[in-house]
Every structure is written in structure tokens, then in C-alpha cells.
Point group: D3
Chain length 256, copies 6
């Protein structure tokens, strides 16, 4: 059966999901973008400057434009996950998950009893999914956790094996910091690259999706070729800033 | 004496002013951009989707980031000009000005008596300018009108000669439509190009600034070299959309 | 060719368009409603308490839910019409139009040159319509004026004959007040009913649509049977208030 | 002494409190409704799409319209309760309370020392209550917890006996899910009905209020007759949607 | 019969109305203030930074706190007056009125036919006034115009005699600018003082109220003693700024 | 090296930092105030009525006006601290910290690994600080905890000794309530005064800053002379309300 979640459709077809990261709390800014052949747009509720009211409007806009609305929640608090899912997010990315217990907590917030402890009240979700049935609602929703600390890395096998978990999204910057490495890591053929590879393999063994956060189409393509199933092609304010910087430079003197 | 208006500083130094066009009603979106060596950022109150509350916040943000905040008002209504100037805009671009009388109406809304009929109440403007004096307040503010119809073109000499007018900003798309030409005009060596040249020359004769709306750094540079004193290097949502489209294409298969 | 405007599709099939009136400035409130087999939802920018930012979000929401977003503008000012159309409204209802000149002013704000004087900048409209072409954009947009004064009534033939006008929407309450009649008019077989009939006939003669504002499904059905082509089935805050009043009464003692 | 909290007045007179549930984040939508002889309006901060800024405005509006503003908080986090009470809510409904310890946590957030650990700063509450005195402020505020899981059901006696607790509000949908029952339960003469009855009796034994969530005036009346002291007569978006659906059906062909 | 408009009650008792000027677009900021024994609070829609959505919320808040909500509109445009009145303002102050025709235009926007041309749709006004009757609605609303230019001064007799006008509010700063005088005028025993006196006398002769804008309680008292019937005791952002400046000075070294 | 944080500059010069407390969620209200020679403005995210979107705008405004933006978070939750710091706050004040473990939790949210567990994503912070380097970012940020309960008082030595803690801010009202004392404490030469002195001395011994919350310039001066390094000169809504009350009294009869 067809899913309303374009990520699930991509995965069902054996394709990786290409996504976009949104930190600008404005629905017009994301509206045209979300229609550009993206599988998902993730609203950054952690490091973006996005309030809840904007988030609700953005979920609506992203879905109607054709992509699956995801949210990276600020913290692994059940109400933050449930509030986003009720409002129409088709998946959550939960930062700083360091253990199987924490992963199970995230899963529980996404699933209704008996699989989880999500409270029932799908105020926008039911029209997004087209059903009021708890199982149907939960089935469309992805629960993805981030491994981005040394502690999480050590527990990666147990985390990846958490029942009901859909995937792991690797946060390379926080992982580097947590490992005592510089933020900018060059070619990845390092301790950092090995850590990332270890997470990827744990996901494969446990048959859950694995994503790696990049900020360009080129890195997204590279990651997709390496087998990552969720890859990010850009971040709104970074792309906008880079584009303006380039235009100003051209205007003021060109590409010498 | 130094001006708080970076456009005026550029002009005083014999340089063109490079600017940016903002249609996304969000202060974070414009904040980083406005600091990228731009002389001004113009909030599009006509064709953008920007409400007044967002506009006020954007004026504040743009100014603090270093650029002069301008606004293209929706229509040549005195209260729209005055409300933007009170809120800290350092200039107005007034669309669809077709006669000297209309240009005078715009000027009047920007200047206090006896030069004009602006009502006194510079609620944010006084701290932006650093003065409560009517003359000082008005001196920092640019009144720029758009010629973008056949009728305006015919009256260009009288418009350019309007006392107190600071400049004319050419709207090429509307001008083309008004002249019965297609929107996309190719090399400009046409009837459309002649019309634009005629406006430019009228501005020079009357010693007022002349701007030409472009949407890229390359066109801005070209226009600057042609003697335009206000040139636009980009439009927020167009640059963002183009950048995302390119990243998606790279991610999904590259520039073959 | 199919239209993106469900009103135009209804009319092309010889059916009346059924609509809804929205005065609550909230996109969630209108989201579920707009999907309930309505041809259009009209955001009341005149007597509602809807600001521009809410309006833009509501246009987006209404369209995606399946209905055509209309707006009743506050006044026959070109920038109010143009700002709504740029933001994705597929039609305007212009209140208090009393003469052919005023009707022509409204039409002009909806059409690009040479048919009108609308300024080009379809920031959301181009994606709603799926085209950047001025003619395609204008063709999807309905320009409807309200006759609701004695003066308008007297000029109904000339108004109805205005080139480019799509229809006349009758405002019965204001028309009654203007005629010196009470607001609540009973069976309509009165001077008021004759006035309404006169407008309806003028529309038929000039082959433009005619709408009559009602506030219930029953009146909408009745008007549709009488040949009105735009009929309103309800107003958000009136329906909500009536429903709550009834539930409270039932709770506190029932319908005795 | 008279209370500013209409629920407390009803209870002091031996009457049940009739209330309304609000999930639309708009003050105009709730303004007229809140004046329709309702004892309280509960803003749904859990399953509604209501942000904090809207909530504050809604508390103000509801109180002035005559009803007591309550909030169902998203989660049993002290700051969520305290932030709503400071902003003028006259009671909290705390979801998913499963033990006496959890109930005590909720109570503690509603009472100042030594009864609880609420931090002092009644920024709007002091004018709502008409006093800055901690005891007076706390006395006007209701602390109500929801029992809506199997675990909560098992601990109902201990929960009901929590010192300082004002009542228990039964969430029938979540309770059903938690018990492995379908959401729609028919006549209530089931395991589900027995569970509800068990909660009701525990409340009576411990002399705390008991509420049961319904969505119609008819169910509210029935529950009131059964002895429930807090009954809900409707939910804003459900009533609005149902009303529009009915009007559209009448308009398009009637109730055949 | 009692009025819901506290200004009208004051005047009916032969007392002047004391008011406050609000330019901060926030309902909490005005909420406590509006309850401090003020007859009215005027939201500054001209020189404040107040958008329409904030204005509606402020009207609600001010009225419930006990004062009459007024608005100084941005310009003498019918829809700006009508939109504020529909939303619950109990009076308008219209700036820059220079002739009897302009005054009549303002009056017309405040009165329903046959006295005026206000369109009927009192969405919030009907509950504020407690009536849906056009006459009752209009009777509670004050139409006040500002004379603040030399031209207005010359036409003061005709303006004051405009049928349906409730009063004239003198804008001393703009009047000074228009007369070529400095903004800060000292003791008022000047050409400026004579102009003000001339307006005051014209109001008395025509039996309409006369207000004079001041920014302190002391000036308000003085003006009240001189017979002004509307006097302003302060402006929000000026009082706040002055208070903070004083506290900082005390903190950093005291009043030496 | 110079700091972007004016509090740190004051302390580096051996001067106390003078600050202001902001509970009105509006950037215009704080804009002029923040430029009045204040070292910091603290947005009250606990007892104010400030939502996250307003907070972000206020941080921007305060910083550009010259003061350091701080936030008192609602609760010691990592994501609340991290979200404010990412958005440009240059310090957090964390309420109700009762133990060294709780203090360490707050510190950890302010520092990146290995000193803490703050997640990396300084979306606005990097431009505020002028660096993307984790250490530089963390160095500009103050982590201050509040001791305001009897339990916190008992643990004051351990709290003050928390590695990475910058200071302790004393909340006198909550401390009094927690000690069973009245809110209004007179001359401070009481059990309450001794408790405050005990906290102050613990801070000195541990070489961390100590602040005491007052609401006037006079108290701020007194506290500064007593050696407090963070002193508050006023609270926005209290100063505004007091100022209006005084003006109304003067207007209505003067200071008799």
C-alpha cells in the first residue's frame, strides 16, 4: 500500500531519501523549496530558531508541497515528540541518544499502546495520514535517533537493536566534539570516519536505516553511494548565505 | 558628516550602492545576509509576503547588521511611506509612479513641513538616525520612485525633476508588460533597452540617482559599470530556490 | 483545460459554486473545514479580524485542502487586491462598488497590461497557478464586486457590463441599511427582494456570475436553486458559536 | 468568600462545572464561545496546536468572557504548569499521571512552599486573582490530574488521596488504548466502563472532583447526572467541522 | 442609559476624560496599565509600531481592563476606521484632517446609513457594545479628528461644525512644524498657543469635545483645568524609557 | 582580549554589572531601554510571558542596543539553556538550583565537550560572538544559577564550587517563601538577611560572581556597594505600571 510518507516510499523502492534541513522559521521560505523533488524536509527544532507555531505551519506547508515533514526535536522529551507528531510531522529525529533505554523512550513516544505510550490526539496527523486508527497513524511515522557522542557510539549495537526504531542519524559535528576531535575533519579517513562506519554497520546488521548529515548535494550523493539511506542536500540559511556572498562578490569585483 | 545610511555614504564616495531584495518575512533569514557587505536591503512590501510587524523587525535587523534598510511600499499612499520611515526604514521605493504629481506626493510623505507633509512621530527613526530633529531625520531618508509603465516613461523628465526626489528605480518587468513586450527580454538592445536608457539619461540630467533592478551579482556589476547607482545583487527566495534546486540535482545525479 | 480554481471548474460544468466565509484568523481552524467538499473559502479581510500574515497562511492552507482561496478585501484599493493575488488568492470580492468606474478599478488591479494595471510579482501565485505567464495568472483569478448600496443598485447595469468583471456578489445586509430597511428582512418579498432580483437579472443579461451571501446550507441551496452561481453555506464564527450554544443548552437542561 | 474561579463557585453550590475544550490557537475563536454560560474553557496544550503566546492571550480572553481558563499541559513538567499558572490559568489538567508520586509532583508545581515548590512570580495571575498573596493565589488554582493508563488505574486510590489534589479527569480514549480496547467503545458497559467507575468511586471516597471527557452537550448532561463534577460539552474544531459538514450537505442536496 | 464607553460616561458627568497613549504592540504591556483608573487608552496606529493583529488583541485587553479602547488610525481611509471599529475600538482619532470634507469623510466611516457609509459587520463590536443594532453600535463610537496643520487651523470652524463629529484632538507637534515653529515650544504663550486656543474656542462654539495631546500627568491636569475634555497622561515607551533612565542613573551614582 | 559580553567586560574592570529584567515579550519595548547604559538585559523565560519567538528577537535587539542578552530559563532543562544560547543569549540564569549536581547539569548545558555536553549548532551565537569555535563560543557565555530555596541554601558551598559555574543569583522572594518567611522582608536584618549573606560569602570564597535581584536603581546601588557583582535596576512592567499610576494620580489630583 502506498504511504503518505515519501521517505517510506523511497525506501520501499530501494532508494535513499534525499532531504533538506530548515532552520528559518517561515513557511514561505520553505514552501517553494519543499517542492523541489525532495523526499523530506526536516525542521530543526534543536539548533534552528523555530518556535512551535511556526513549526506547525511548516509541517503543513512541507507536506502539501510534496515532501515528508520531519522534525529534529530539541531533546528526548516525550511531549516534544508527541506534540510534533500530533501536528503532522511524519517523523522525528531525536538528538543525543546515548543508550538503548533512551532510544526506547523515543520509540515509546511515537507508538501508541501497547507498543508505546504515545497519548492519543492526532489533531492534524489524522488528516495528514488519512486515518484515525492508532496503528495506521504510528505506521507512517519514523522514529530516528541521533548518535553523536562517544557514549552513544559505545552503545550503538544496543541502540540499533531497539524494537520499533526506524533508523539512526549520525551527527558528525557533535560526534567529533565528543571524541575530542576538531569540527572540520577533512577526508573522514580518521578515527572519526571509523566511528561513523561503525554506526553504519550496526544499522545494517539491525536492518534499520542510517543517515549521515551533510550540507551539500555533493556530499549527499557521496553518502547515498556509500549506502546511507537518509542524506541531506542542504541547510536553508547556509545555502542562502553562501549564495548571497557569491553574488555580492561577483557584483563587487567578480570571480578573479 | 557621516551618514547612518550606507547608500548615502557610497554615493558620497562616488560608488554605486549594492543591495539585496527581501521577500521572506523573517528576521533571521535576513540577519546573516544583511551583514555580507551589502549597502542596503530592500524589504519588498509590494510583491513580498511581508506584513508590517515583520517589516519593523526586519528594519531593525538589517540596520544593525550594517546595511541600510529600505522598503518598497505597496502603493503610493502617504501612510505606508510614513509608517515605514517612522519604524526605521532609511528609504522608500515607491512603485508605479506615473507623473510628477505622483512623485511629489511620495516626496511629501518623506519630508516634514515646509518641504513636505510628513507627520512627526519618529518612534524608531530617531534612535536609528540619532536625532529627533525633523531636518536630520528627513536628510537620512531616500525617496526613490519607480518608473515602470509607458505613462511613467513619457513623463520621465518631469518626474526626474521633482524637487526633493533622490532617485528613480527602474522596474524592468512591469515596464516591459506595460510596453506590450514579453517579460523575458534577452539582450536589452530593444525598444525596452531604449526606454531604460531614456530613464537613465533623464536621471543624469536631473542629477538624481538611478537604479535598475536585477537579480544577480553579474547583472548588478554590469549595471554598475553602466553607471547605475543602485544595483540589486539578488532576491532572497530566488537565490534560495536556485541553490536548493542545484543541490538536489547534484545529489540525485550530478551535472551531467 | 482544467483550472486550478475550483469555482471556475464548477461554473464550466454548469454548477453553482458552494463556499464558506472565514473570519477567524487561524490556519488550523480553516484547514479541516476547507476540505469538506467546498468550492471556495473566502477570507474576510473587511469585517473579519484577519491580518495579512494570517491571510497568506490561510490562502496556502485553503488551496492545499482543495478549495479555491478567495478574499474579500477591505476596500477597493489596488494594492489590497494585488497583495492578495500575489499571495495566492484565486479571486477577490470587492466591497462597496457603486459605479462602473469603481468596478473597472477593481478589474484593473486583477489584470496585467494591457487589460489592466496589475504590477507583476506573483510571488506565491505562480506556484499556485503553475505558471509565470501574466495571462495564465490573470485567467485563474476572479474579480467580483459587491453591490450593496442604493447607489450601486442604480448603476447595476453599467457595473455588470464592466469588461473583465467576473461577477457580482450581493451583500444583503448593507444593501438593506443603504435602502433604509431593517437588517433582518423576513421573506425577501419586499423592496429588498426586488432590488436583489434586479441585480440578479442584470448579471444574467451581462453574462457574469451572481452570488448572494447567506449564512446556512439551507439558504445556499435555496439560492442555488434560484440560479445564483456563488452561494455561501456558512460563516466560521457564527457556526461555531451556534454549535456551542446548542451544546451548552443540551448539557444544562436539554431542548425541552 | 466568592471565588474568581467559576468552577469553584459551581462546586461550592453543589453544581457540576460545564466546560469546553479549545484546540484552535486563536483568541477571537474562543472569545464569543467563552461567554456562552460555560464554567470553564480548557486550552489543550497537549493535543491542540496551541503555542505559549496564543495560550497567554487565550487565558486573558477566556477569563474576561466569564469562564475559568484551564490548561491541559503537555506533560507533567513543573515549568509547564507554573508558566501557565503565572500567565493566568486558574487550573491545570495534567495528562498521563500514573502514580501518587507523579500526582504529588503536579500538586507541588501548583502550590507555594511549604505546601509545594511553585516558584513565586504571578505576573498575570495576581491581577486575575486580585491578590499577590501566595496562599490566595494558590487557593484559586485547581490541580487536576488525568488517569488514562492501566498503570494509573491500578494506582487510582493512592493518586486520589494525594494531598492538595483537586480532582481527577478521566481520559477515556487513552485509557481504552492502554487497556487494549478499541477507541470507540459503545455503551460503556464493559471493562472500560468498569474502569471509569472505579476511578469515579475512588474520587468520591477521597472527596476530590471527578471529570469525564466527552465531546457533546448530551454526553455532558449524562455524565453530570451520573455525578461527574467536571463535564465537557464540546471541542472547538470538532464542533466547527461537524457544523460545516452538515451545512455543506444541506447545501448540496440535503438530508435525504 | 449607561454607556460602555468610559469617555462618554465621563463627559456625561461633566468630567474630562483622562487617557493614555500606547505604541508598544503588546497586550501584556497595556493590560495592567489600562486598569489604572484611565478613561481610555489610544492605540497609536499612526506613529506606533502596532500591526493590525496586535491592535485587535489590545482593543480586547484595554476594554476588559476597564478603559475605552481608541485608535489613532494611520490615515483618513474609511477601511482603516471601519476595520478598527469592527474589531472593538470605541473611537477613532483621525490625523491630518484639514477640511470639513475630510472631517465628513471620517464621520461617514463611523456611522451607518443614512448618517454615513460604514459597512455593516461588527464582528467584535457587537459583543463589546452588547447590541447588533446599527444605531446602538454607532452611538458608542467617538469620531475625533486631529487638527495639526496650518490648513486645518484655517478651516477649524467648518471642521468643528461637521455633523456627527464628536471632537477635535490637537496635535501640537505637527501643528508647530506646519506653522514653521520649533517642536519644543516652551510656555505656549506664542503664535502656537494662540492657534491652540483658536481650535479650543471653535470646539466650544460648536459643542464638540476638544483634546490636547500631552505626555505627562502634570500637563494633563493643566489641560483639564483649562477645559480640555480629552487629556493624555502619558505615552508608554516614553514613560518606560524615562523610568529606566532614572533607575540606571540612581544605580550608577545617584541623583547628585 | 575584549569580550562581546558587556558583563564580562565590567567584571574584568572590577565593576559590578548593572542589568534590567524584561517580562514584556516585545522587541520594541526593550530596544530603547537596552541602550540606556545597561550592562545586560535578562529576558524572563520563567515568570515573564515571553515565548521563544519573541525571545530570539529580543536577544538580537538587546545585543545590538549594546547590552548583553541574558535569559532566565523556565527550568533547569538542557534544551532550554541550549536553545537560548544557540539563539544568541550570552548567559543563562537557571532557577531553583538546589544541589551541586543540579548546578553541574546547568554548566554542562553551557559548555561543549569535554567540559560539558552542549550540542553544537550556534545558529545565531556564532555571529554574535564572531566565531564558530566551540571554546570561544562557550567562553562568552555565563552560567549562573539561582539559589532560592532552603535546600539550595544548605548546599550553597557545594553549588558555589561547581566547576565552570560563573555565578549565583539570589532570588530573595522564593528564598523567603521557602524559609517560611513573608515575601516582603523589610530591612533584611533577619534570618533572611543572614541567608543572603551566607550565599554571598560562599560565592566570594569560591571566586564566583554573586547577584541579588532588586527592582530599583536605589537597591541596585546599595547591593553594588555591598559587593554584589550583578545587580538589577528594574523590571519593565513594574516600572511602567508605577510610572503610569503616578501620572494618573497627578492628572487626577496631584500629589497631595
Amino acid at each position: 500500500m502506498a504511504s503518505v510518507n515519501r521517505i517510506k516510499e523511497a525506501w520501499a523502492s530501494g532508494r535513499p531519501a534525499f532531504g533538506f534541513w530548515s532552520a528559518i522559521p517561515d513557511s514561505f521560505a520553505i514552501e517553494l523549496v519543499a517542492g523541489l523533488d525532495l523526499d523530506y524536509v526536516c525542521v530543526d527544532g534543536q539548533h534552528g530558531v523555530v518556535d512551535y507555531a511556526s513549526m506547525v505551519s511548516m509541517f503543513r506547508t512541507i507536506k502539501f508541497a510534496g515532501a515528508a515533514p520531519l522534525v529534529r526535536v530539541a531533546q528526548n522529551e516525550p511531549w516534544l515528540l508527541m506534540g510534533a507528531l500530533d501536528a503532522g510531522a511524519l517523523g522525528v529525529i531525536v538528538p543525543m541518544v546515548n543508550s538503548a533505554a533512551e532510544a526506547a523512550r523515543a520509540v515509546s513516544a511515537c507508538r501508541f499502546p501497547p507498543q508505546g505510550a504515545r497519548s492519543y490526539g492526532p489533531i492534524r496527523a489524522s488528516s495528514v495520514v488519512g486515518s484515525k486508527d492508532p496503528k495506521a497513524l504510528a505506521d507512517e511515522v519514523l522514529c530516528i535517533v541521533q548518535i553523536e557522542t562517544r557514549e552513544g557510539l559505545e552503545n550503538v549495537e544496543e541502540i540499533a537493536a531497539t524494537p520499533g526504531l526506524d533508523g539512526i542519524y549520525i551527527g558528525p559535528a557533535d560526534l567529533a566534539l565528543s571524541m575530542g576531535l576538531p569540527l572540520d575533519l577533512g577526508d573522514g579517513k580518521s578515527e572519526h570516519g571509523e566511528a561513523i562506519g561503525r554506526i553504519r554497520e550496526a544499522c545494517r546488521r539491525n536492518d534499520v536505516a542510517v543517515g549521515l548529515h551533510g550540507t551539500s548535494g555533493a556530499s549527499a550523493r557521496e553518502y547515498a553511494e556509500q549506502g546511507y539511506s537518509m542524506v541531506n542536500v542542504g541547510v536553508d540559511y547556509l545555502l542562502l548565505t553562501a549564495a548571497v556572498r557569491q553574488e555580492v562578490q561577483e557584483a563587487r569585483g567578480g570571480r578573479t
